[in-house]
Symmetry: C2
Subunit: 489 residues, 2 copies
């Protein structure tokens, strides 16, 4: 029914043009993947990157850019040089990315089909595939059939939706949020603080609870603080525990926190954006025991399930609590309500903050079908082993006399270490020595690490981190890290 | 540096496997596009769709699904049959989708490269391409250089981020939200109400302002309500106007609302999720005059800029107000702060709720480069003309004696109409006649419309809508709609 031939200058491409566009762009992208292992672990950022940014910046043209797809690829190729490379095997910084190729293909298919999956009624069978993945994840965490989940764009919005559900469960629509008190560990991710702010919880009401020597929230400290707050007329409602902090991969003591939260009638949310997916392997499940008692859990498939960026996930033990906080109806959606909805999958819009959104489920469903869940379990177990390998290597260097201190041993797949402070050394000088160490390691561009601040006798101190999470990182990358660390020393 | 050969059962594909996966999946997706014009405008939903959902539902396998990519395609093809078809030319329901093919290719490239664009420091040149698109959009709306924007997953989160900015500007971190009062038009999208709820504004504080005969918010009614609320001790802080309501495409009187909001020191947010993009064509710009005075504007590139689902946009006239509400720092991001950031593009994480997220800018940048902005302007002008064509056709039917009433003439690209109520007809009977009319039109599966409730002498009444927004919808689709409407009568 569309006009058989588009007018020139229209937005529809001919079949030949579609094929050419995909050929040119996919050749570029596939070549990048084939060269990934030979590429530097980090491209140009900072001043050099900003110069490249100025170079590729192109005014939005009124007519098609001369040169077409080939010119577009040239700009993209140049722009990509100015970036960190989370896709590569040597990326051990922040929380690594990787990016399963099958997910990228899934995104292409989802965008081309462009079905509406924000309401499951509009595409019940595609929504079912997504719901199957969510149900499988919920079961992996030990949740029962009342659980529901929703894919978000990332951990920030998953944490946010959990906080909204917790807030709604306690304060309803119109409680006094100035009395609402939330508890987070001293090592929690800033997206939790940010999500609390977005949800209208005053920053002064966010209690940061002390952590122990292994960077885990101390339940006794939490209990005391709750008692103090109640005595002062506050209304505690939420504990956010970490299943893998960003700094060190620390897992808060989930059984004790679950016990305490139940006793105090607080919503327990577990932020497992980085670490939650480890529940899929045996060793990880042991590290995360107790997580099944959480009211809600964040995990980021674009971290621990190796997807390209763009997919977080929130699971709630009681799906209805999530729905009560997020469901709003509308007249112009009445046709959906008139359908026979028996057997329909849960409706994403009712369990999270979005309505229209991309078909995220496909980018996890497709790799699970293609590779099987076992491949994910094995890769996750390997990441835990690689962190042990990195830790053992650093300990070996220390035993050989390297002036390092191990600040955090792996609880999941992260370690933290730094040059030990020299006797009498000024804090600034100490920091500069560690900054220089990091700079020397990274300058070889074979591996890429990042830093954070972790406690010392003299307050938070500059500390290097190694986080292993890419499916492309194997033993060779850890050996390279240890070589480059030794050389930098 | 990655191990040269992956162990069997790993998550990395060989180059040949990558090529095969793309070939099989893209052949499926491209064939769907080629057959789009011959496909029914709507597939199986409701009970039939849910049966297909049960049929395709596949337990997550431990090993790769037998049959590989071909089996995956077979499941997807079957699942896709059970869906509305927003990609097709006959989709005139809700707000149509379309879905530019170049964006789907961009998603494939972005996912394969998997660069981190949540922090511009991590990929300054790729972030620059995104920032260029945002700056171009801001200028198109008449905003100056202090404006900033952010791409979200859709309009819901763009509206939410605007509301958070408005709330923060008035109440800071810890004001009393029980006094916070927001004003929305009687035809506003439910995502606005939902976003207010998510942001902690009590539902009872959301004032729904009367609309005039053309479904536009009445400034005088708003002014009176503000005065009442102030007198009662409330704290008005926000007006949300619509630039194209979902029901009828009504554009609230933006100049008068801007005037009033400025006088009352209220944040004026314009929800242009559906209609905002029309600012890019001359006729649309005239319809949206005054929008440049809004404090913030939502538009959905996955609606008015024809992208596949997954991209909304928020623009703020004073970018700093957006940043003050959304920026939070973290120790583990300190390496970014140490970079030379001179010339760096604005940092997305500081202007919206997310940190990690997909590289959304590419899916708009690439089509703009490929087609040129002129192609978008022409397509938008065409949609406005098509709605006029649909309206004229309905009026012609009425002139010929069809028992219809036109409920909303096009302010943008939407019309609303229904069977006129027969003298003495019961409300239920009237509703059933209109439901049946819609069912008969849709049953031909050449065009797909949806319904809503719009006022009548006897309260909200079932009304049919035609919304034209897909780049694939041309004059032939409107003629088909008119034929099928005539036949259904």
């Amino acid at each position: 029914m569309s006009d058989a031939r588009e007018e020139p200058g229209g937005l529809e491409l001919t079949p030949a043009e579609r094929r050419e566009l995909l050929d040119v762009l996919s050749s570029f992208a596939l070549a990048r993947l084939e060269h990934l292992a030979r590429e530097p672990a980090v491209g140009e950022v900072g001043a050099a990157g900003n110069r490249i940014a100025a170079e590729v910046s192109t005014p939005i043209p009124e007519a098609p850019l001369p040169g077409g797809p080939a010119r577009i690829v040239a700009l993209l190729a140049r722009a990509t040089e100015a970036s960190l490379n989370p896709a590569g095997p040597g990326y051990l910084a922040y929380v690594p990315g990787g990016g399963l190729y099958a997910s990228a293909v899934a995104d292409f298919v989802a965008g081309t089909l462009n079905r509406f999956t924000g309401q499951s009624s509009a595409a019940p069978a595609l929504s079912r595939l997504e719901a199957d993945v969510l149900a499988w994840l919920a079961a992996a965490f030990g949740y029962g059939p009342a659980a529901r989940g929703v894919f978000t764009s990332g951990g920030s919005l998953a944490n946010f939706a959990a906080i909204v559900a917790a807030r709604h469960a306690r304060f309803g629509d119109s409680g006094d949020l100035r009395r609402a008190i939330a508890y987070v560990g001293g090592q929690s991710h800033h997206s939790v603080t940010k999500a609390l702010r977005l949800a209208g919880v005053p920053s002064r009401n966010v209690r940061v609870i002390d952590v122990d020597d292994a960077f885990r929230m101390i339940p006794g400290a939490l209990a005391s603080r709750i008692a103090e707050d109640r005595a002062a007329g506050g209304e505690p409602f939420l504990v956010v525990a970490a299943a893998g902090t960003t700094n060190t991969g620390a897992v808060d003591p989930l059984p004790a926190l679950a016990e305490l939260s139940a006793r105090e009638r607080l919503w327990l949310h577990v932020d497992g954006a980085y670490g939650g997916a480890f529940v899929l392997c045996e060793e990880g499940r042991r590290a995360l025991v107790g997580i099944e008692r959480a009211d809600s859990i964040t995990l980021d498939p674009h971290k621990g399930l190796f997807l390209p960026y763009g997919t977080g996930c929130l699971l709630a033990r009681d799906g209805e609590a999530l729905r009560r906080a997020h469901h709003v109806g509308a007249d112009y959606l009445q046709d959906f309500d008139a359908l026979d909805r028996d057997g329909e999958p849960p409706n994403p819009a009712e369990y999270g903050p979005e309505l229209s959104r991309d078909f995220r489920g496909l980018r996890l469903w497709l790799p699970l079908m293609l590779h099987g869940a076992g491949a994910f379990r094995r890769a996750l177990a390997e990441k835990l082993a690689l962190a042990q390998q990195a830790c053992a290597g650093v300990e070996r260097l220390i035993a050989q006399g390297a002036p390092l201190e191990l600040v955090a041993r792996p609880q999941l797949s992260t370690i933290a270490f730094r040059l030990a402070r020299a006797p009498g050394e000024a804090a600034d000088a100490w920091r500069r020595r560690n900054e220089a160490l990091l700079a020397r390691i990274v300058a070889r561009r074979r591996v890429f690490l990042s830093s954070t601040l972790l406690r010392s006798a003299d307050g938070p101190a500059f500390t290097l981190r190694v986080c292993v999470l890419s499916f492309r990182t194997h033993a060779r990358a850890i050996e390279t890290f240890l070589e480059d660390l030794a050389a930098a020393l």
